[in-house]
């Protein structure tokens, strides 16, 4: 065991920090605060700069444009990006690329991985459909082979990055007669393909998501990832990685540290917030939870570097961290009392409105990426051998 960074890891972290001190400009910070998860020219430029460092392939093989480092180094990078308030790595990097590396054909790898590491391609997750949410395997969007092309028809929802990404990472049914999990494939579809219509859906968290319609969309046969009808396994694998990505703690720890700082310098009713025992107890409990949350994330990185896909541990990390996000936002808004309801546009907002924003963002992370209910069953079934729920 070793609960500290190695000298190499410390050096890596310093390199990331040094990069951030140069590239995370005040103008960019302002835009990020105003835009949240959305993009802008400055944000896109920053992402390109990150990719230019090779950091969109930290732990990918060198032959596909990666740096061949470990999952732990990727986690350190993500934690630093988040803690600094910078955009984190996209799921294309943390969750989808690894599936191409593991399961893609040689052609897939050559086609897509260098594009990703150069920051030239990002994939929107085309999974959910109106009647296939948690029950994803009921999806009906279909792809039929017509000569050298797939013809795609159907409809996706909660397609959050569709208006920003270059491609769809699209889950489609390629064998309508197979059992529902066995007839699914993954095809990469250029977002500007004729026949694609994107309709925005605005969420409570101010994140834009989309409905995307596919009408006779044609893509080359080679855009199929891995083998036909094996898509379910890639989706499930990608979800395990996605859960780890949803369970990182950098932004939470930053919010907490800033809250502690706020409490130390804010006086209501003649008393500094941090002097109040009830505030101390809540902050202490949050500190305990955050520490465990951080340990969960370090643990999954450790296990990945040991060669596995830690399904149980990643699910624990996802459940615990996303529920902690709700708790931190909820308790934080209570601690700062009436100021907790002020939006960032109000100059009196505590922590620039990041607490109420976090409160509105929190639900999404609990049901997104596999609901926490599904996660708990995974922990019980895959982690502890309980029989499948019925």
């Amino acid at each position: 065991m070793d609960f500290d960074l190695t000298p190499e890891q410390t050096e890596w972290r310093e390199a990331v920090r040094s990069f951030l001190s140069r590239h995370l400009t005040p103008e960019l910070r302002d835009e990020l605060l105003a835009l949240g998860f959305s993009h802008s020219p400055l944000v896109q430029q920053f992402q390109k700069e990150v990719a230019d460092q090779g950091w969109w392939g930290v732990n990918w093989p060198v032959e596909y444009g990666g740096l061949d480092k470990t999952a732990m180094e990727q986690l350190i990078l993500i934690d630093e990006l988040e803690y600094a308030g910078a955009p984190s790595l996209p799921l294309t990097v943390t969750s989808l690329g690894p599936m191409i590396i593991r399961f893609g054909t040689e052609e897939n790898k050559r086609d897509w991985l260098p594009l990703v590491t150069r920051g030239e391609a990002t994939f929107a997750l085309g999974y959910s459909e109106p009647d296939a949410g948690t029950d994803l395997a009921s999806l009906r969007t279909k792809a039929e082979l017509d000569g050298d092309e797939w013809i795609i028809n159907g409809q996706k929802i909660w397609n959050s990055e569709a208006h920003l990404a270059t491609h769809e990472w699209l889950a489609v049914r390629t064998d309508p007669d197979a059992p529902k999990h066995r007839g699914i494939s993954v095809i990469i579809v250029p977002i500007d393909s004729p026949g694609i219509t994107i309709q925005p859906l605005w969420t409570w968290g101010d994140v834009r998501t989309n409905q995307v319609y596919f009408e006779d969309v044609r893509v080359p046969k080679g855009n199929l990832i891995g083998e036909v009808n094996q898509g379910w396994y890639y989706i499930v694998g990608a979800l395990a990685f996605e859960r780890m990505a949803l369970g990182t703690t950098g932004s939470l720890r930053r919010l907490f540290d800033d809250l502690v700082d706020f409490c130390g310098r804010t006086m209501f009713d003649g008393q500094t917030l941090s002097e109040r025992p009830e505030v101390q107890l809540r902050l202490a409990e949050l500190a305990v939870d955050l520490e465990v949350s951080q340990l969960f994330s370090l643990q999954t990185a450790t296990l990945m570097d040991a060669g596995g896909i830690p399904a149980k541990e990643a699910s624990m990390q996802k459940v615990f961290t996303t529920e902690l996000r709700t708790k931190l936002a909820d308790w934080g808004t209570q601690i700062v009392d009436l100021y907790g309801q002020l939006h960032q546009s109000d100059e009196d907002a505590a922590l620039s409105g990041r607490l109420e924003r976090a409160y509105r963002m929190a639900p999404f992370l609990r049901f997104g990426g596999g609901t926490n209910e599904v996660m708990r069953s995974i922990i019980a079934e895959r982690g502890l051998g309980l029989p499948r729920s019925t």
Partner: protein
């Protein structure tokens, strides 16, 4: 001992529910929350006045009728329907007037409010003084024709519509028991500047800057005898406000429970309604326990206040429980609705905002727990 509403009480609640369903549909709620609106509907207001709801809990001698508990039952329904906050802020002001105003003021103000002619509100909180009256700094000093007010109030609901706005100010230094006075500041008085606060529930709260605001001697609520003596009435009124806020939360929480039950009964995944999954059932059952406890604790607080029983502990218990239960219901509703309840076009988030804003108003959970502890003699 009888925890169920009497037939009259049930009828009143039923009538309010039906009226709000008709007169305050979600389309109107959304319109009133929007940036184009002032956040108040005179039409709806008139209808509420016609039903006598704006006189509930107020002295009969001045146009009031019905008990605080009756008012609570209507406020509960207003929370279910997300009726704009002018109802709450005006009734809060009315209760303070009823507790502190002299005959003439009661006659005029309670009369105007109960007949729907006035919207009002109380300006108590200041940027650094959220709850504790010892730290209020807004000053009123004698002037040429009465009093001159200076200071900053914050989180004042509907200050842009309030006529009058009741301002709690310090008329001498020292202990608040002998220093606080309430002034009726008419709309449009010189020296009052309103700065809207960007609350996430869009519920029209304002920072109120008072810069040498002159009011007459008649503006002192309760008249000369009440100068420096307003604190007991303010404390008493705040208890009533808290109980009414709880009632509003009960209505909202009940609605969220119903919306969620409906959704999980109708939403099919894996070939069956998700409401048949144990995990979903148990989440909903927990929500239901929270809501049921909210209702009982809130009714008890209202009943005790309406019947002049000591109520400080009951009120604090109701707020501590109900705030958590309502907010918890919305948090879990989002979990069960998933994306469908997270898009802005779905109404769910309107209650989520109302729940969080209400939890924060008039003291969040720890504040109430410390009050309970104090009532336990700790």
């Amino acid at each position: 001992m009888d925890l169920q509403p009497s037939p009259d009480e049930a009828l009143l609640a039923e009538s309010a529910r039906k009226s709000f369903l008709r007169d305050c549909p979600m389309s109107l709620v959304r319109e009133l929350l929007g940036p184009e609106s002032v956040g108040h509907s005179p039409d709806l207001w008139t209808k509420m006045a016609e039903q006598g709801w704006l006189g509930l809990g107020l002295p009969e001698a001045h146009g009031g009728a019905g008990s605080l508990l009756d008012l609570g039952l209507v406020v509960e329904e207003s929370g279910r329907a997300l009726v704009p906050s002018t109802f709450r802020s005006t009734m809060q002001a009315a209760l303070l007037v009823a507790g502190l105003g002299n005959e003439e003021q009661q006659s005029e103000l309670v009369g105007r409010i109960s007949s729907g002619l006035a919207v009002s509100a109380v300006a108590y909180t200041e940027p650094q003084a959220i709850h504790d009256p010892r730290y209020l700094t807004t000053r009123a000093v004698p002037g040429d024709d009465g009093w001159v007010l200076s200071g900053v109030k914050s989180f004042v609901a509907n200050a842009h519509l309030a006529d009058p706005l009741l301002v709690v100010a310090r008329t001498t230094a020292g202990a608040p028991e002998r220093a606080l006075t309430v002034f009726c500041v008419p709309a449009g008085t010189d020296g009052v500047t309103l700065e809207p606060q960007a609350t996430f529930a869009h519920d029209r709260q304002f920072r109120v800057l008072l810069d040498g605001v002159g009011v007459g001697d008649g503006a002192v609520l309760g008249g000369p005898a009440a100068i420096g003596r307003a604190l007991p009435a303010v404390i008493d009124a705040r208890q009533r406000w808290v109980a009414l806020l709880c009632a509003e939360m009960v209505g909202g929480a009940q609605k969220v429970l119903e919306l969620t039950s409906e959704y999980v009964i109708g939403r099919v995944q894996f070939g069956k309604p998700i409401g048949s999954f144990q995990a979903v059932q148990h989440h909903v059952a927990n929500m239901a326990m929270g809501v049921e406890g909210s209702r009982l604790a809130t009714y008890q607080a209202l009943w005790r206040l309406a019947n002049d029983r000591p109520a400080a502990k009951s009120v604090a218990i109701a707020k501590a429980w109900t705030g958590e239960a309502y907010k918890g219901a919305t948090v879990m509703a989002h979990q069960l609705f998933g994306g469908m309840g997270y898009v802005r076009e779905n109404d769910l988030h309107l209650w989520s905002e109302h729940a969080k804003a209400s939890e924060l108003a008039l003291g969040p959970r720890d504040h109430q727990l410390l009050k309970v502890a104090s009532e336990l003699g700790l």
